[in-house]
């Protein structure tokens, strides 16, 4: 027993002397520190729609003033260029976007449909039709007086622009037109929450798993160099476990301390138990890989693939099983699934 503990001590020293293992182990506290230092994004529930106006004029200025009045809920954002609008819609920053070509106000007022307004959407757009209705509603409200002025000037003598505009505003404001009665709470204040989306827990689990894979690698490399030739099969298994433990222990200890500092609300004992159980799972999985890929040359070739699949299939950065349930069983082949 003492010889195994001594072997564990020596192998831990060996593991920590390797730059790669040291980097892996230190990655956990480093990411935790980085997360605290980088200013976190505000999570807002505003729905942003982009507007790009090719050649702004007095007509479009009135429109943009009205559209950009609201700062919560459905918000219209002015984009400086079409490229900016397209990029933001493509990347999902804006739910959708509208590009008004040059002289569009004239087109709208005259009811022409040849010069169209482009609505840009992406597969992630959800509220483009609502934005379209809102935009049209705003345009109608601003340009309705001009539409009526045009009708009057075509059919009657005289200039009635100012008169019509005043009358229009009066009717609009005195509730003599069609309205809806609202009861209940339709207000929704967009909450600006500081949201930390960096998966520090999942990353800790993944790094401990990768360390366990390196433990097997070290064992198989030693085995290929005939270091364990004098040992019985049973002792070889024990030394394999010692090698894995030598890699996993430093990562688990550093991970535990980091998570305790990072999240002070966490139950220390529960986390400790969780870590111990997870370490056991990692060791078991590593032994399984060792049985599957018995040779050093085979294992070192397959190791990057195992890490790739662990990154893809386990819910570290993205939970693919949520969108592709069929992969759930495959993700169970990797220990981080259980962290």
């Amino acid at each position: 027993m003492i010889s195994y503990i001594r072997a564990l001590e020596i192998l831990i020293k060996r593991a920590l002397c390797k730059p790669f293992t040291a980097i892996l182990v230190l990655l956990i506290p480093l990411s935790a520190i980085l997360i605290q230092l980088i200013p976190q994004n505000d999570m807002s529930t505003t729905i942003e729609t982009g507007i790009y106006i090719e050649n702004p004029d007095s007509y479009t200025d009135a429109l943009t003033d009205k559209l950009t009045k609201e700062k919560e809920g459905f918000v219209f954002v002015i984009c400086e260029s079409k490229k900016e609008l397209i990029n933001k819609v493509s990347s999902g920053i804006l739910d959708c976007g509208f590009a008004l070509p040059d002289g569009y106000a004239d087109t709208f007022i005259n009811g022409k449909t040849n010069d169209k307004l482009t609505m840009y959407t992406s597969p992630s757009s959800m509220f483009q039709y609502i934005a379209m209705e809102k935009l049209y509603g705003c345009m109608l409200e601003i340009y309705a007086p001009f539409i009526t002025s045009q009708y009057l000037s075509e059919n009657f003598d005289g200039a009635y622009d100012d008169d019509i505009a005043k009358r229009f505003q009066t009717y609009l404001n005195d509730n003599s037109v069609f309205t809806i009665n609202l009861t209940g709470n339709h207000h929704f204040t967009a909450s600006k929450q500081k949201l930390n989306t960096f998966p520090i827990y999942e990353l800790t689990g993944l790094l401990i798993f990768i360390c366990s894979l390196f433990g097997v690698l070290n064992y198989l490399r030693d085995e290929s160099r005939h270091s364990y030739d004098s040992l019985s099969n049973e002792k070889k298994h024990i030394y394999c476990i010692i090698n894995i433990a030598a890699e996993v222990l430093p990562a688990a200890i550093i991970g535990y301390i980091t998570l305790m500092i990072y999240d002070s609300s966490i139950n220390a004992f529960k986390l400790l138990l969780h870590m111990l159980l997870y370490m056991l799972i990692c060791i078991l999985y590593s032994l399984l890989y060792r049985l599957l890929f018995r040779k050093y040359t085979v294992y070192q070739a397959v190791l990057p693939i195992i890490i790739t699949l662990a990154l893809l299939l386990t819910p570290t950065f993205i939970n693919v099983t949520e969108y592709i349930p069929a992969l759930k069983y495959l993700s169970m082949l990797f220990a981080p699934y259980f962290f």
Binding site: G92, Y120, E133, L140, L152, T183, G184, F188, A301, I305
Partner: protein
């Protein structure tokens, strides 16, 4: 001697074909599953329909056609699900238990009140707790009602002006009909003012096309890691003896490179033909089998084989070389927008992405294989 070395290397690599094929097939299967569902992974938003209870006591032809017109509007169809409710009490109960997010009560005389100008308002009842859904619904209702309100305000202002101008009754009726038609046509044909363009986060290629091209590169690159042991399998004695026989390190490396290149190209052809076949059968994308695609395979395989050969020569252990190559592949893929599309990358990487080798490779693959 050099020819014999090449033959020997081909014989050696032949033994790696079966494990390579197994690994290749396993990765291909997983990656195809991910690519096939790439849309879901990239665009993770799920739009949920909102239930709206509607109590419409009016049963006239006008009311029904108005209801049909509104419920068929794209803006309503995209988020709303209308549920007909018999009575106010039933509606309030459904509102309280959350079965509906809003309750609309349409008055009996809705159409006649609009036509005669009394404009009996439609009642919309929301639950006590405001939510994003109720907010969105409210935006929708207000926008729709404002179309009518704005049109009415414009029509009323014209008619009030016409009354003051003291025109004949006939002219007044004509003006009333004309202005009503003007705004009715304007509102009803409002969708004709817009043309829709769907953008992809992956640029001019669809998400599936983008990730299929990425799959080709990633699959070949990741599987090339398997050849590290092949590149480093010569012991010092073999190296010395080769040198004694006039074969220098470059020739040794060249011989190994030729074998790896051939295998990678062979597997590239397998993927290429498979994609071409799927393209013809299912039409997820349009991969064409042509000379450009075949030449692409030669260049791509050569590039991957050279990279693997160079990394294998670094003065680190075998496992170190494999991991270094893996990190290099990962970095190339990430900065090139093969894993996360360029537009979704962090700002620093987004700026350099178009100039990275990964992005160049991706664009080149897309240009060569897609029609």
């Amino acid at each position: 001697m050099f020819a014999k070395l090449i033959i020997s290397d081909f014989k050696r690599i032949r033994q790696l074909m079966i494990p390579f094929a197994i690994l290749f097939a396993a990765l291909l299967l997983i990656m195809i599953t991910l690519v096939r569902n790439a849309d879901k992974l990239v665009y993770q938003n799920k739009s949920e329909t909102v239930n709206i209870g509607i109590i419409m006591q009016a049963d006239s032809e006008y009311s029904n056609s108005a209801y049909n017109m509104i419920s068929n509007m794209d803006s309503y169809k995209s988020i709303c699900n209308f549920i007909d409710i018999e009575s106010r009490d039933e509606g309030m109960e459904l509102l309280d238990n959350g079965s509906v997010n809003a309750l609309i009560i349409v008055p009996d005389n809705i159409v006649s009140s609009i036509m005669d100008g009394t404009n009996t308002p439609v009642e919309v009842i929301y639950p006590e707790d405001g939510s994003l859904q109720t907010f969105i619904l409210n935006e929708l209702f207000v926008s729709t009602s404002s179309l009518l309100g704005t049109s009415q305000a414009a029509i009323y202002s014209v008619l009030s002006l016409c009354r003051e101008l003291d025109i004949s009754e006939n002219d007044f009726q004509q003006a009333s009909a004309a202005i009503n038609n003007l705004f009715l046509n304007h509102v009803l044909s409002r969708t004709d003012l817009f043309k829709s363009e769907t953008l992809n986060v992956t640029g001019s290629y669809t998400v599936i096309e983008h990730y299929t091209a990425a799959l080709i590169f990633l699959l070949l690159s990741l599987c090339s890691i398997m050849f590290m042991s092949f590149f480093r399998s010569h012991n010092q004695a073999v190296v010395n003896l080769l040198k004694a026989n006039g074969i220098n390190r470059f020739q040794t490396a060249l011989s190994q490179f030729l074998s790896v290149w051939s295998v990678l190209y062979l597997f590239y052809l397998v993927i290429y033909i498979l994609l071409g076949t799927v393209s013809k059968l299912h039409g997820f994308f349009s991969v064409s089998i042509n000379i450009k695609g075949l030449v692409l395979g030669i260049l791509l395989s050569a590039m991957i084989a050279i990279t693997a050969a160079i990394v294998s020569r670094l003065p680190v252990s075998l496992a170190g070389c494999s991991l270094l190559l893996f990190l290099l592949i990962l970095m190339t893929a990430y900065t090139g927008g093969l894993i996360v599309p360029e537009l979704l990358l962090p700002k620093i990487f987004k700026n350099i992405c178009p100039y990275t080798p990964g992005n160049t490779i991706l664009r080149f693959i897309c240009e060569c294989i897609y029609q």
